[in-house]
C-alpha cells in the first residue's frame, strides 16, 4: 500500500494501481476515452492528463502507477487548459453529425465537450473526409470520421475476444480503424466493441436508427440466452425492447455480453410466433383463439380428473426458461390442488459454448428449477423419461409451463410432439414452439422481460430480473398463470401464492440455501447461493449499484476466462 494525495485527499492504494483507477475508485472523476478498466493501457487520447508535483509535464493518469508520496491535482488550471486543448484537437475533424448519429445522447465527445470545452472551433481549413457508414460485418457499422482512434475496439478484439480482426491503419489525421479485406468482423462478441466505443464510430447495425438514446427506458435484468446469466439492461421504448446491453458484474460477465444473448429480445416481439391470446386446438388440428373465460372452463374440465385421489397420470413439465418463483408457484399448485405424478424440467436444446461467456446450456434458470424440485423433494424425470411416460400412457395429461423441449436429437423431438398430440396438454407458452403446436390448449405466458423474478445461473448465483414491459396482449406472468389455474380449479381465496414475495417465501421455507436471502434486497450483481448465503450473508455488494460494484473491485482488469470456468451443466 502506498499513500497518494489526489486533489487534497489522502488515499491509501495498492502499489502499482494506475492513478486514474485510484482516483475513480475514490470518486474523483478523471475524463478519459482510451482507458478502459478491463483493457490494457494505450494512453493515446491524452484526455486524462493530470498534474503531478515535481513532474515537469502533465502526465497521463491512465498510464502512471501510483507512487508513495505522490501529490496529484486533477482540476488545476493547467489540467483544465490541457483538457480543453485535447477536446479541441479531438473535434478538429469531427463531422458533428450528431443529428444522425446513434451515439448522440450517450456520447463521451458530447459530454466532455459540454464539461471541458464549450468553445467554437478555430479551424479554418477543410475537414478530412473519410468513409461513412461502412459495415464492418453483419453486426457493426463503422463511421471513420467520428472515430477518435482510441483503439479500445482493437484492444478488445485482441485481448478479450482473442480474435484480432480489427486494426488501425494509416497515420496522422488519416488514421482509421478497419478490418482486413475479406475478413469482416464476424465474432460472437462483436457488439461489445459498440458498447466500449466512447464515440459514435462503431454503432450497432441492429439498433441503427431505431430510437434515440434519450427516449429509452431501462430495466435491470439477466440475459435469458444461456446458463451464464450475464447481467444486462433491457432498454425499451413504447413497450418494445430496443436493445440489450451488458451491465458490469465482476462475478459473472465482467462487462461483456455475447451477440447471441443480445438478440434474444427478437422472439419476444416476433409477430409470427408470439402468442398473446389463449388458443384451443380444434378437431381439424387448427388453433382457434378463445377468451380467457372459455380457457378457464377448458382448464377446469381438463384438470377435473386429477383433483383429489386419482389413479395419477398427470405430468407437470417446467421449463428452465421460467423464473424460480414461477416454477415454485406451479409446483405449489401441483402439491396443493392436483395429483401430479411426473415432474420434469425441460428446456431449450443445447447450443454452442465457449471459454469466454457462452455456456452450452441455453436455459437461464436450470439451476433454479433444480433448486425448487430439490426443495420439494421431487424427482426430476427429465425430458426422455417424461416422453416415454407419455408414449407408454403412464402420463396421459400434461401441464407445460413454457413451451420448451430438448432432447438428444431431432427424432426425439418429433417423437415428443407426436406423444404430446396424443395426450391432453395444457401449454403455457410465449411463442409457438413445436411443443405449443402439439398442445390441446395453448395459453399465453409472459416472457422474462414482462415479469419480475429471479434466475439462478450455472455458478449458483441468484440474480433478480425486473419487469421491463407490460405483458403483451393477454399474456399472463407465470405467477398469474398459476393463480389462473388455481382459480379455474376452484381454489379461490385458498390460493395464496399470488405475487413474487409469496412464491419466494414458500420456497425459502423449504430450503436452507435461501436462508438470509431477501428477494427485494438482492443487489444488482446477485447473491451466490453457495458462498454468501450459506453463511447468512447477503454479499457485500447487495445495495451498491453496478458501477460502484465495478470500481470497488480490487481485481485488476484481467481476462475473464481466467476467473470463471464453464459450468458443469453443459
Amino acid at each position: 500500500m502506498v499513500k497518494v494525495n489526489i486533489d487534497g485527499r489522502d488515499l491509501e492504494v495498492e502499489a502499482g494501481t494506475r492513478l486514474i483507477k485510484a482516483a475513480i475508485d475514490a470518486g474523483i472523476d478523471i475524463p478519459h476515452y482510451c482507458w478502459h478498466p478491463r483493457l490494457s493501457v494505450a494512453a493515446n487520447c491524452r484526455m486524462c492528463l493530470v498534474e503531478v508535483e515535481k513532474a515537469p509535464k502533465l502526465l497521463p493518469s491512465c498510464e502512471i502507477p501510483v507512487r508513495d508520496g505522490m501529490v496529484v491535482r486533477t482540476a488545476s488550471p493547467r489540467v483544465l487548459e490541457a483538457r480543453q486543448a485535447v477536446m479541441e484537437f479531438m473535434l478538429l475533424n469531427h463531422p458533428i453529425d450528431c443529428p444522425i448519429c446513434d451515439q448522440a445522447g450517450e456520447c463521451k465527445l458530447q459530454d466532455y465537450y459540454m464539461a471541458h470545452d464549450r468553445t467554437g472551433s478555430r479551424f479554418a481549413g477543410l475537414k478530412v473526409a473519410k468513409k461513412k457508414a461502412q459495415p464492418l460485418g453483419s453486426t457493426v457499422m463503422l463511421d471513420e470520421e467520428r472515430c477518435i482512434n482510441c483503439t479500445r475496439c482493437v484492444r478488445f478484439m485482441d485481448e478479450i475476444a482473442h480474435r484480432p480482426l480489427l486494426g488501425q491503419f494509416d497515420r496522422g489525421d488519416r488514421a482509421v480503424i478497419g478490418v482486413f479485406p475479406g475478413r469482416p468482423l464476424e465474432d460472437p462478441y462483436s457488439l461489445n466493441v459498440v458498447d466500449i466505443c466512447p464515440v459514435g464510430a462503431l454503432t450497432s447495425r441492429d439498433f441503427r436508427f431505431k430510437v434515440r438514446a434519450w427516449f429509452l427506458k431501462s430495466a435491470d435484468s439477466v440475459c435469458p440466452g444461456c446458463a451464464r446469466g450475464c447481467n444486462m439492461r433491457v432498454d425499451h421504448y413504447e413497450n418494445e425492447i430496443q436493445r440489450l446491453v451488458p451491465r458490469d458484474n465482476d462475478a459473472v460477465n465482467q462487462g461483456w455480453m455475447c451477440d447471441e444473448g443480445r438478440f434474444t429480445y427478437r422472439e419476444i416481439h416476433d409477430p409470427k410466433t408470439q402468442i398473446t391470446t389463449p388458443h384451443v386446438r380444434m378437431a381439424s388440428g387448427e388453433y382457434s383463439p378463445i377468451s380467457w373465460e372459455a380457457a378457464r372452463q377448458k382448464v377446469a374440465e381438463m384438470l377435473a380428473p386429477f383433483v383429489g385421489e386419482t389413479d395419477g397420470s398427470l405430468g407437470l413439465a417446467l421449463s428452465a426458461q421460467q423464473t424460480t418463483e414461477g416454477i415454485t408457484a406451479f409446483v405449489e399448485l401441483a402439491e396443493q390442488l392436483l395429483q401430479v405424478d411426473a415432474y420434469a424440467i425441460l428446456g431449450r436444446a443445447e447450443g454452442e459454448g465457449d471459454d469466454l461467456l457462452r455456456v452450452a446450456d441455453k436455459n437461464p434458470n436450470r439451476a433454479g428449477a433444480e433448486l425448487v424440485l430439490e426443495a420439494y423433494s421431487i424427482f426430476d424425470e427429465g425430458p426422455d423419461l417424461l416422453r416415454r411416460g407419455l408414449e407408454e400412457k403412464r402420463v396421459r395429461a400434461l401441464i407445460m409451463v413454457g413451451g420448451d423441449y430438448s432432447a438428444g436429437d431431432s427424432a426425439d423431438v418429433s417423437a415428443w410432439t407426436a406423444a404430446l398430440a396424443e395426450s391432453k396438454v395444457i401449454c403455457f407458452a410465449s411463442n409457438w414452439t413445436e411443443s405449443a403446436r402439439a398442445a390441446s390448449l395453448v395459453l399465453p405466458l409472459a416472457s422474462y422481460a414482462e415479469q419480475d423474478g429471479t434466475f439462478v445461473n450455472a455458478q449458483g448465483r441468484m440474480q433478480r430480473i425486473h419487469r421491463a414491459l407490460k405483458p403483451l396482449g393477454g399474456r399472463k406472468t407465470a405467477l398469474e398463470a398459476a393463480t389462473f389455474t388455481a382459480e379455474a380449479l376452484g381454489a379461490g381465496a385458498r390460493w395464496r401464492i399470488r405475487d413474487f414475495g409469496a412464491a419466494f417465501g414458500e420456497l425459502k421455507k423449504r430450503t436452507g440455501l435461501l436462508r438470509g436471502v431477501e428477494p427485494l434486497k438482492i443487489g444488482p450483481s446477485g447473491v451466490s447461493l453457495e458462498a454468501d448465503v450459506a453463511d447468512g450473508v447477503q454479499g457485500p455488494d447487495a445495495d451498491e449499484d453496478a458501477l460502484g460494484q465495478m470500481s470497488s473491485s480490487k481485481r485488476p482488469p484481467s481476462h475473464p476466462t481466467g476467473s470463471s470456468s464453464a459450468p458443469s451443466h453443459a
Binding site: 443529428p99 477543410l126 475537414k127 436508427f209
Partner: protein, 213 residues
C-alpha cells in the same frame, strides 16, 4: 404570488400552507352594488363608442374582414424541401424530443443516398394535439420544419385526418414563398451526414446543427 386575502390572520400550518378566506360583507350579500359597478363600465363604453372620438369596438366582420397576422405568426407546419423536392429532415428526432404535446411521430430509415444516410420514412404531425408553441421549429438543426405558412390547419371531419404526413407537410408553402423562390431556397446550413463541412464558409452551420461544437 398575488396578494393573499388573509382576513382571519391565519398562520402557516406545519406544511407551510396559510388558510385564507373571504368573509362576505353586507354589500357583497346585497349583490346590487357589484352589478352597478359592472354596469358602470358597460355604460361608459357604450357612450364612448356612441359619441367619443376614440372607439372601443374591437369587433371584426369575419370573414369579410380579416386580421392581418403578425410576421412571426405560427401557422400550420411545413417541411422544407431540398432542391430535389425531398425533405431536408434527417430524422434526428429533435422536434419530437422538444415537443411538449407529443404530437410528432417520426420513423427513421436508412437512405439510399449515402451522403444523406438517415431520413424520415414517416413524419407525422397530429395537428389536433399540437399546441402551436413552435419549439419544433427552434429545435430543428437543419431548418427542415417551419411554421411560416401563415394559415391554420384546415378543419377536418375525423381525428385521423388531422394526422398530416410527410407528403402533406411538404406541399405546404411559406407565406412569402412562391413556386419559383422555393426551388432556389437556401440549402441547409449543414448537410448533416456528408461530414464534409467547410467551416470557412462561416455562419456556424455545423454549430447550428448540434448547439456548439
Amino acid at each position: 404570488m398575488s396578494k393573499v386575502l388573509d382576513i382571519h390572520g391565519s398562520k402557516p400550518n406545519e406544511e407551510g400552507v396559510t388558510e385564507v378566506g373571504h368573509e362576505p360583507t353586507t354589500a357583497d350579500r346585497l349583490y346590487v352594488p357589484a352589478i352597478a359597478a359592472g354596469l358602470k363600465t358597460t355604460i361608459r363604453h357604450f357612450f364612448k363608442n356612441l359619441i367619443g372620438k376614440e372607439k372601443y369596438t374591437q369587433t371584426i366582420q369575419y370573414p369579410d374582414q380579416k386580421v392581418e397576422y403578425p410576421e412571426r405568426f405560427r401557422g400550420m407546419h411545413r417541411l422544407v424541401p431540398r432542391e430535389d423536392g425531398t425533405s431536408r429532415c434527417v430524422a434526428c428526432y429533435m422536434c419530437q424530443t422538444a415537443c411538449p404535446a407529443r404530437c410528432i411521430h417520426i420513423v427513421a430509415g436508412e437512405s439510399e443516398d449515402p451522403s444523406i444516410e438517415k431520413y424520415p420514412v414517416v413524419f407525422e404531425i397530429d395537428e389536433l394535439r399540437c399546441v402551436v408553441c413552435g419549439l419544433c421549429v427552434e429545435a430543428c438543426p437543419c431548418d427542415a420544419i417551419r411554421m411560416d405558412t401563415g394559415y391554420h390547419p384546415k378543419p377536418v371531419y375525423s381525428r385521423e385526418d388531422a394526422d398530416f404526413g410527410k407528403a402533406d407537410l411538404l406541399k405546404n408553402f411559406g407565406r412569402h414563398e412562391t413556386e419559383g423562390s422555393r426551388r432556389t431556397a437556401r440549402p441547409p446550413a449543414t448537410a448533416a451526414g456528408t461530414g464534409r463541412v467547410d467551416r470557412s464558409s462561416g455562419d456556424g452551420g455545423a454549430g447550428g446543427a448540434t448547439g456548439g461544437y
